[in-house]
Structure formats: C-alpha cells, structure tokens
C-alpha cells in the first residue's frame, strides 16, 4: 500500500488545490478498493423498530413490505453529517525544512478532506484562523461550495501567532448540530487554553479530530552552528547554541506532546501527529480508519468517544 502512495513533494507541485485534493482522494480510493473497509458514512447503520413519535419519513417501506413491521432506517442522517475543518493559518505554519511548508501541507490536507467529504455528499465547513478567526464558511453541501472552500484555503498566511481558543469557542457557539470537527494545526501553543476549548466542543457532542502537522525539523531540531533563532510569529530573537540546547529542546517538545496527548485522551479527542513528509492519503487513511474502528467500537460498546487517542 505504501508503494501506491503518491510522493507528497509531487502532490505539492500541483498548483491547483482542488486538483491536488482530487489526485489524493483518487489515489486513496484506488488503494481503498483492496482495503477491507468501505467508507463509513454511506454505510447502513441499523434498523430500529418504529416507536410512537418517530418521524414517519424514516420508515423503511420496503422492509415493511417484506416484513409487515415498521422499521426506521438510521444511516441516512449520519452520512449527511457536517464536518468543520479548522485550519491554522498562523505564521508558524510557514516553517519548513522541505520544499513545502506545514501550511501547504495543512491546506492540502484540508482540501483533501473537503473533497473527499463532498464526494460523500457531506456538508463541509471551514474556519481558518490565526490569532483571530480569519474566514468562516458554514458547513454545506451545494454546488460551488467546494470551490469557495478551495479559494478560502488558497489564501496566504495572515496572522502572527496561534490562538486556538477563539475559533474553537466560535465553532462551539455557532454549530448547534453535532458534527465532526477536524482541527489542522501545529499546536505549538501553551496547552492550558486548549483543554477548556476542546472540552467545550466535546461537551456539545462534536467529534474532534486533531491533525497536528509538524515539520521533521521541529521534531529533531538538528541545527549545527550556534546563532540567532527568530520566532516566526513574534519575531523575537534568541541566541541558541544547538550543542547546548538540542537535547533540552527535544525534552521539552516531548513533554509538550505527552501533555497534549493526555489532554486529548482525557477528552476523547483523536490526535494524529502528521509529519508533513508523509503521504497525504496516509493521513486520510489514518483518520478514516480511526473513524471506522470507533464506529465499530460504538457499535460494540455503544459508548461514544471511547478509544480515542493519538495515532500516527
């Protein structure tokens, strides 16, 4: 399967975001045919015996014809779910040690999800943010919406720093119906605020998936010479001697990651650490497989949110 993945460098060379997304999704689907899983939202979920007060529109008349019992088909409502893509557009997303930046990767990822979901006739919304909310597109499925979304994603990076609280808070307030929230960000922020915001979203019944895009360089911090390091967001300069700082950096980074993981675990949020040198469809696959397994878990346990955790 790995061989079938398209090199992300090649994908990133495609200028048009929609074309890029389509290439990924098609590639993914090509691979998917041999996969044991077949989507999640189009799948039939369950028949439930009709009880008084149920919407008669949900009745399966064919089954009634066959069995003379009233059953309500549940799957249609779930497939038309709403998914909100929350994309970080702060400066730190512009960091790159590869040919493309985290922001490019994040955009492509978001576009891929949007394309994929719109193929499934799911409503896709978009919130881009930096230190404040940049653009908000409500979750819809209608002709042209995808195009609008792509355009919104194509805008260059705007703000200075990352502030997660306002977009998440905003989402929690405006999206009344439960849905899927996919947060694509590097999450290089203090974690205290994240916890409360994620908790709020979760409490509203949203499923939250965090795709943490990271550059390989951020993980290792493998500089050789001492020098001034400039913060991309604040512009602050600090003299760093890698010889002395690297191990400390890795330690702190790891601590941050673990703390984030524990937060997500405790809140039932799926956290994926996506290295941007990784093929995009692999990330897509990860997300979908998690969804799939969760669905099974739900089917098995009837408990939502269980089994959530970091996968990469």
């Amino acid at each position: 399967m790995k061989d079938l993945n398209i090199d992300p460098v090649a994908i990133m060379r495609i200028k048009d975001l929609q074309l890029r997304a389509r290439s990924i999704v098609e590639g993914f689907q090509n691979g998917l045919h041999r996969s044991p899983y077949h989507g999640f939202s189009v799948e039939f979920s369950e028949y439930r015996p009709y009880s008084h007060g149920d919407d008669p529109r949900g009745l399966d008349w064919k089954l009634y014809a066959r069995s003379d019992r009233y059953f309500v088909k549940k799957f249609e409502d779930e497939t038309n779910r709403r998914c909100h893509l929350v994309v970080d557009q702060s400066r730190s997303m512009g960091f790159s040690t590869l040919e493309y930046s985290k922001a490019d990767y994040a955009k492509t990822l978001a576009a891929t999800f949007a394309y994929f979901l719109s193929l499934q006739r799911d409503g896709v919304g978009l919130v881009t943010f930096h230190e404040e909310i940049d653009q908000v597109l409500p979750a819809r499925f209608r002709p042209g919406h995808l195009r609008q979304l792509m355009v919104a994603l194509s805008r260059p990076l705007g703000g200075m720093e990352t502030k997660l609280s306002s977009p998440l808070d905003h989402l929690a307030r405006i999206v009344s119906r439960r849905g899927l929230v996919i947060l694509i960000s590097d999450l290089l922020v203090p974690l205290e605020a994240i916890r409360s915001n994620l908790a709020l979203l979760r409490s509203r019944g949203h499923e939250v998936i965090i795709l943490r895009t990271l550059d390989p360089g951020e993980l290792t911090f493998d500089k050789k010479d001492p020098g001034m390091v400039v913060d991309m967001e604040s512009g602050k300069e600090v003299y760093i001697d890698p010889a002395a700082s690297t191990s400390d950096y890795r330690k702190r980074f790891e601590a941050h990651r673990l703390e984030l993981k524990s937060i997500c675990d405790s809140l039932g949020v799926d956290l994926f650490q996506v290295m941007i040198d990784r093929p995009l469809e692999a990330s897509l696959f990860d997300v979908l497989s998690v969804q799939q397994s969760r669905r099974r878990l739900i089917a098995r346990r009837g408990v939502a949110g269980a089994g959530a955790g970091e996968r990469s």
Partner: protein, 743 residues
C-alpha cells in the same frame, strides 16, 4: 614642535582599530527562522579566548609603527630655530570719497561718512591711509605722508576731522579720473609706502603690502565722460578696488535740460527763419518756438528726462523767479516713463507779470531735488544798431537806405535798429558790441578809414557797397587804404543787358543758408549795373562773382572782423537784389556774423570752462553776495554752486547761469561690468591676516624642508615594522614547536 600637516595626526587613531575590533562583541553570524521558541532556552553567550588580547608586544609594536607613520606624515618641525620675522604687514588704502552733487541725495552723505568711519575703525597700526575726495576732479585731502606721521588714533582723528569739513558739492562726478588718480597714488608711491621697522630692521617691500582702493560712492552711471579716462589707462595689477556703494532708499530722479531756442542753433536757421517770414512758402523749420511768432509769450524748450531706475513717472514743471517766487499759473504736469525723456514747451510767464532777466525752472515730483532747479536767463533784447554811412536819397528806387531800413534784422535776443550818419562817422563810438555792422556807401575821409579799420580789427563787420552813385576814384582810394591793396582798381562795368551772380561760395557762412537747392537759385536777381574790381589781393575771398567773371561780393579779414565789398547796389536802380528773397537773409547773416560770440554760453555747467576773458577789472557778481574778482580763468572754479551770475567788466555786463551738469543727474547705478571692461580689478578689502597666514605657512614649509624630521620618523616606523615581523615569526615558530612536541 609644530606640525605642517596636523590633520595626518588623525591617522594615529588607526591604532585603536585592531583593539576596537577585538573588543567589539562578536555578533553571531547565523540567523534563522523557527516556528516557535516555546521549547528553546536562550544560550548565554560564552567568553571565548578570542576576545582577549594575547600578544601585547605585537600590538604595541604595530601601534607604535602606526603612530610613527602618522607623525611622519604630519611633517613635524621645530619652530624657534629662526628669528620670528615681523608679522604685521600694513595695508595701503586709498579711500575715494565721492563728493559730487548726486551725493546730496537722501542720506547718502551720512552713509558715506559712516562707511569711512567703519573703515577707520578697522584700521591697524601698520595700515596707511590716504583720502581722496572726487567730483569732477580728484583732490588728495589726506596723504600717505600725513598717515605715516601719525599714530593710529591720531590718524583716525585727523581723517575724521577732514571728513567733517567735507560735504558734497555740486560738481559732476568723474569716477574714471578718480580711479586712475587713486591707483596711481597707490602704485607709484613706493618711497612712502615702505615701512621702516626699526626693531628688527626687516622692511616689507612695497609690493608685498596689499594695495586697496576703496571707493565710497553712489557709483552712478553718469555720462560717457565718466569712465572715458580709464580707457587709455593701464590698470596696475596689484591695486584692487573695493566698491562700497551707498544707495538711497528711493530712486526716482528726473531732471530738466534747457534746450537752445531753435532759431539760435545755427546761422542757417536764422536765414531760413527769415526767409520763411518773407516768403509765402513756410519752411518746416519754423516752429512755434520761433522768435516772435507766438503771440501768447515766449516758450522755452525743455527736455525732461527720467532716470532708468526710477519708480515714479509723474512730475511737474513750474517757473520760479530768481528769488524763489513760484509762478503757479505755469505749472505743467509731465509724464515720463523710467529711462525716457521728453521735450516740453514751457510757456514763459508774461513779461507784465514778471519782468525778470533771470528765472529758474523747477521740477517737482521726484525723490531727489539736487538737480531739480535749472537757472534760465531771459536776457533783455540787446539793443544794437547798424550804422549806415551814405547818402539818403528821397527817391526810394535810388536809395540803399530805404531798403536797408526795412530789412528786419531783429532776433529774439537782439533788437537791431538802423542808424544813418551823413558825412562824418561818429568818432570813437563804434563798438562791435553795440554796432554789429557798418554799411558804407559814400566817400570816406582817410581819418575815418583808420577808425573803421580799428572797428573791424576789434571784431566788427563792414559792408562796403559800391553802388552806381559812388565816386569810383574816391572809393578806390579808400578801399586801397582799408584793404592794404595798392593794386586795386575800381571801374564801372558796361554790361550789355544785365548781369547775374554766379560762382557763389555756398560753403561760406553767409551763403550757407542758401546752399539747399530750394534756395540756391540766384539767377532771378538781375544786376543792371556794377563795378569792376581789378588787382584784388589774393587774401581777398570772392564770395560771389558776376557772370562776366568780375567779383560781385568780396570778403577780407582785418583782425577779428570782416570787410565785405559789394560791387553793386541793391536798390532797384542798380539791381533787383533788394526785391529778392535773398536780400534780408544776407543782411541778417552779416549783421549777426559775430553775434554768436555775444550770446552763446549763457548757461554753463558747473564744471564748465569760463567763456569770459579775465581782466584786471572783471568781476563776477551774484545777487546778495560780494562780487568775486575775476583775474584768471581759475577764479571761475570758485563759483561753487548753481545759480545766476553776472559777469561785469567795465561797461560790459553779461549775465549767465550756472547749473548742475546734466550727466550728474543720471543717477542709475553703474554696472561693475563696465568698470571691469576698462580693466579695473576688484577685490575685497582683506584684513591683512590672509597675507600674514600665507607668509607664515611659507616659512613653516621652509623650516620643515630644512629639518626633515619626517625621514627619521619614517625610519623608526620601518624599524618597528621589521621588529614586529621578526617577533611574530619567532612566536609562530615557537608555537609550532610546542605544537609538535605536545601531541
């Protein structure tokens, strides 16, 4: 120890450079962006070995070498090995102070004196000063000798005193003369210019001391003669002119020039005027100002000019009496743009109102009144008489006198009457001043001929008419005697029909008015009879001849006067001359032949030459002032102010006016270019310091050249560098040896 090029010492600062480079905190070379500093702790900068100074001896050697190099380039030398020469050089300054009439404008004189005071205040003890005041001629009023004989304060005091006595006069300025005078004074005055310094015996040469010509003037453009003398003057190169221009706050200046009446401009005009009076064809020359032709009163032609830098253009002209009474009725407005001039006919007041011989014409409306008043003479008509010595016939056709009497010989300033004397001329009364012409047409006794001769000698005109009634023998004798022409014979001619004048000398003043082709036709005048003169001396000039070749009008001079001999009468018995239009102009020309000497130059420029002959009895009077004796021409210069004067010599009286020169009124500023074109060199009045500094520098260079300390310093620097090389080499070798041993 002094330095010739002290700026090179700054090069010594170079030694600080390596130290500075060592001590500057090294900025990290690399700088890169990173997504977040969250996980990064700043590394404290560490002090490396490189920021410490290791090789003190090397650094010292290099610094020393640099210092020595810098010192060598600064070229030091030791002062005091030579005697300090005298350091003060006196300037030689000639101050040209304008005292012309235009300096009377506004506060110009005050400005000028204050400029002199400023100059005095800036004088140094060694400076020499001479003061020249100039108007039409320059006058040295404070000499270099006086300057050197006084100390500084005494000099200042003396000059101030001289200046306080000075005031602007009325003369026209002549800047050219003054400049060349001042330059000569500066350039040639070597003996006085040398300062003898008794203390050290050093004598600055005259050519070393700066020569300055300070011109304190309003530098007006004036007339052409202003700079004329500079044209042929070679300007000495060492003399620099510093103009210190004083200028009034307001510039408008207009002036008036009294023009001569047109009929006095030449004898030609007289003839033309007379001719036009008698002929129906009015000559274009006849103007309203012609004598007697205007009934309303005499007019004076006045040219009013406005200076080119004026701002105003409206002026008034008014007549005043000599004692200042204004004739308001004559007030005339004139409008003239700047730089333009205009001729105005000023009607003189009626004689009944003002019967004055002298008047003045006053212009008002401009800013400066020094040239606004023009003194004008209105001379009473001179009473003259033409004496006719001949028979007075009753029959007009035979009478010369009949026609002579009727010829109008008056002009604007002369009234000429005709007097007849029968047989004997009045002895001793003939004066050419009173009697401009004597006409003789009779036998004259020998004694009287001598009288006539005296009269002609003193400047009279004698017309001898040989008409048909004359006794030819007597006339021949008389003419022989008078003209000293023993060969002369007079006989009667026998023309067949008639004779005409030909070969007329139109170049002669008498005939010049007829030279125009309109008037030169004499063929209509027929002479029925005439006399023939033979044996005419060569000195006699024939002005006209008859067509048979015999002289018709002859002229010869005796002394200042002239004798004309006419060989025909003009009465109709003899000829048609008296009936022709040529008769009156001819007679007027004779009567006025010497009149110009009497009337011209009534108005003189203040700087003009005297037209009067000085004599033991001559005096010049002015109303309300004691008469000035006029013994020599130079006495005339003492008439220092414009006004109306009277020249008196015995019985003879001649009023005249003195006015400010017209050139002086041209107050627009002179362009410096004009002066430069004449070769005048300008230069600021240096304070002597500059020359002094130059001299000092020259001496320093000389000293330094002699001592050549820089060579030693350079040698020392090279030594330092050599030892530095050796030391660093040595240290390198030692280090490498240690390096080889230690591993």
């Amino acid at each position: 120890m002094s330095l010739l090029a002290p700026l090179y010492v700054l090069g010594a600062l170079g030694i600080g450079l390596p130290i500075l480079l060592h001590l500057i905190r090294r900025q990290p070379k690399g700088k890169w962006l990173f997504s977040s500093l969250m996980f990064l702790q700043p590394t404290p900068p560490t002090l490396s070995r490189r920021s410490r100074l290791d090789n003190w001896p090397l650094l010292l050697l290099r610094a020393l070498a640099l210092l020595l190099l810098a010192a060598a380039f600064a070229r030091p030398f030791l002062r005091g090995s030579l005697l300090q020469p005298d350091e003060t050089i006196g300037r030689r300054i000639v101050v040209l102070l304008d005292t012309s009439a235009s300096m009377r404008r506004g506060d110009l004189w005050k400005q000028a004196t204050s400029k002199v005071s400023e100059l005095l205040a800036s004088l140094k003890p060694r400076d020499q000063l001479a003061l020249v005041s100039f108007a039409s001629t320059p006058a040295l009023i404070f000499t270099f000798e006086q300057s050197t004989s006084l100390d500084l304060s005494g000099r200042q005091k003396a000059v101030t005193e001289v200046i306080s006595k000075l005031s602007p006069g009325w003369s026209t300025s002549n800047l050219g003369d003054a400049l060349s005078f001042g330059a000569d004074l500066l350039a040639s005055d070597d003996g006085i210019g040398t300062i003898v310094d008794s203390e050290d015996g050093v004598q600055p040469k005259a050519d070393e001391s700066p020569l300055h010509l300070v011109v304190i003037s309003d530098l007006q453009a004036s007339g052409e003669s202003n700079l004329a003398s500079l044209q042929s003057y070679a300007w000495p190169k060492s003399v620099k002119v510093e103009p210190q221009v004083v200028s009034p706050s307001q510039n408008t200046n207009a002036w008036i020039t009294i023009l001569k009446p047109q009929d006095e401009q030449s004898g030609e005009d007289i003839a033309n005027d007379a001719e036009s009076n008698t002929s129906p064809n009015t000559s274009p020359n006849t103007s309203a100002s012609g004598g007697g032709s205007v009934a309303s009163g005499r007019r004076t032609r006045v040219r009013v000019s406005n200076a080119s830098d004026s701002t105003g253009s409206d002026f008034f002209l008014v007549w005043e009496t000599a004692d200042g009474k204004t004739m308001d009725s004559t007030r005339t407005p004139v409008n003239i743009g700047p730089g333009q001039s205009r001729i105005v006919q000023m009607v003189e007041p009626e004689d009944s109102i003002l019967n004055a011989e002298m008047m003045r014409l006053v212009l008002s409306g401009d800013d400066h009144d020094f040239d606004n008043c023009r003194y004008v003479l209105r001379p009473k008509a001179l009473q003259q008489e033409v004496v006719f010595a001949g028979r007075v016939e009753d029959e007009p056709r035979q009478s010369l006198f009949y026609y002579l009497k009727r010829a109008p010989l008056d002009t604007t300033d002369r009234s000429v009457s005709i007097k007849t004397v029968d047989d004997a001329l009045p002895l001793g009364t003939l004066d050419f001043y009173r009697t401009p012409m004597v006409v003789v047409a009779n036998e004259v006794a020998d004694k009287q001929i001598e009288l006539l001769r005296q009269y002609v000698l003193s400047g009279g005109g004698l017309l001898w008419v040989l008409d048909s009634s004359l006794n030819l023998d007597a006339a021949q004798e008389a003419l022989r005697l008078l003209g000293e022409a023993p060969e002369l014979t007079v006989s009667a001619a026998q023309p067949g029909d008639y004779a005409m004048w030909s070969q007329i000398d139109f170049k002669h003043p008498l005939f010049k008015p007829f030279a125009d082709t309109k008037y030169n036709d004499f063929t209509k005048i027929r002479f029925w009879t005439h006399r023939v003169l033979a044996g005419v001396p060569a000195s006699w000039q024939s002005l006209a001849s008859f067509d048979d070749g015999t002289p018709a009008l002859l002229e010869f001079a005796i002394g200042k006067g002239r004798v004309w001999v006419m060989t025909s009468g003009w009465q109709p018995v003899d000829s048609q001359l008296s009936l022709s239009t040529k008769f009156v102009p001819l007679l007027r020309g004779m009567a006025a032949f010497f009149a110009k000497d009497l009337t011209h130059n009534q108005s003189l420029d203040i700087d003009g030459e005297s037209p009067f002959q000085p004599s033991a009895t001559a005096e010049i009077e002015r109303d309300g002032a004691p008469a000035i004796p006029y013994r020599a021409k130079g006495d005339f210069a003492s008439l220092a102010s414009p006004g109306l004067y009277r020249f008196v010599d015995g019985e003879k009286q001649q009023p005249f006016a003195i006015n400010v020169g017209e050139d002086e009124s041209k107050t627009q500023p002179l362009s410096f270019d004009d002066l430069e074109r004449m070769g005048v060199a300008f230069g600021p009045l240096s304070d002597g310091e500059q020359t002094l500094t130059q001299k000092r520098q020259q001496r320093d260079v000389e000293l330094e050249n002699r001592q050549r300390l820089w060579q030693w310093l350079l040698l020392a620097a090279l030594l330092m560098l050599a030892s530095e090389s050796w030391l660093s080499g040595y240290m390198d070798r030692r280090q490498s040896r240690v390096g080889q041993e230690s591993p």
